[in-house]
Symmetry: C2
Subunit: 113 residues, 2 copies
DNA sequence: CTTGACTATAACAAATTACTTATATAATCT
DNA sequence: AGATTATATAAGTAATTTGTTATAGTCAAG
């Protein structure tokens, strides 16, 4: 459960998701990750730490470089949460109150923020 | 993209995920949601607003009550992001450098925080 | 062994978040 | 109408987050 917190928290920041998207194209060192992102190197290092503790990336040691790559653990955590939600939703789907709210949902059609 | 931000941000808070878990059991009004959570009603209302703007819940109007229910839009957004990541990872999986880093990953085995 | 590249940490400021209590608004009930 | 219930908004506060610059540590190259 703590993992879930850390993982979703890591994903909640657009810069960190952008880092993941970059990393999805292949491994990259910290310096390589700083380039496209227009924020300082320490800021990126901080994001990487958050991503790592969320199980979304891992790092190796290559001399003085620390190449980062996507770690599937984090992705699996999200996947499991999704599956859990879908399971709970499916279980409820044939309950009467859910059906009723489905019907009533129509009146909810044009609603602003 | 803005939706992704809002959705993941909404999911990044444990209280909000707990609200979703409760809602997965079926619709609930704001007052019903306040009960199990030991925080004030305005705090819950704030969380609900965040969840709604992340497309994770929707609300109907029932007299003075505002029953909340899970909205699958948010879940689909997460699902699409997952699919996108998996696709990018799969595309890279047969690239040489990825294979190399896979091999080198072994030396990364026992690494603390 | 000094210099330069790569990354992490410290110290601090600004913005955001998540609460709180108090209050406003709207619907329900008597 | 007056009281009660259901929810939202306002104002304020403490904690957290995200960024910055400056600096330290480690490795590589000459």
């Amino acid at each position: 459960m703590k993992t879930l917190n850390a993982t979703f928290f890591a994903l909640s920041d657009p810069t960190r998701r952008a880092i993941l998207a970059r990393l999805a194209l292949g491994e990259a060192t910290v310096t390589e990750l700083v380039e496209p992102f227009a924020i300082s190197q320490p800021a990126i290092s901080g994001h990487l730490k958050v991503l790592e503790s969320g199980g979304l990336i891992s790092r190796r040691i290559d001399g003085s470089k620390r190449p980062c790559r996507i770690d599937k653990k984090g992705i699996e955590v999200v996947d499991q949460w999704l599956a859990m939600m879908r399971h709970a939703l499916a279980k409820n789907y044939d309950r009467l109150d859910q059906l009723l709210t489905d019907l009533q949902h129509n009146e909810n059609d044009a609603k602003g923020d």
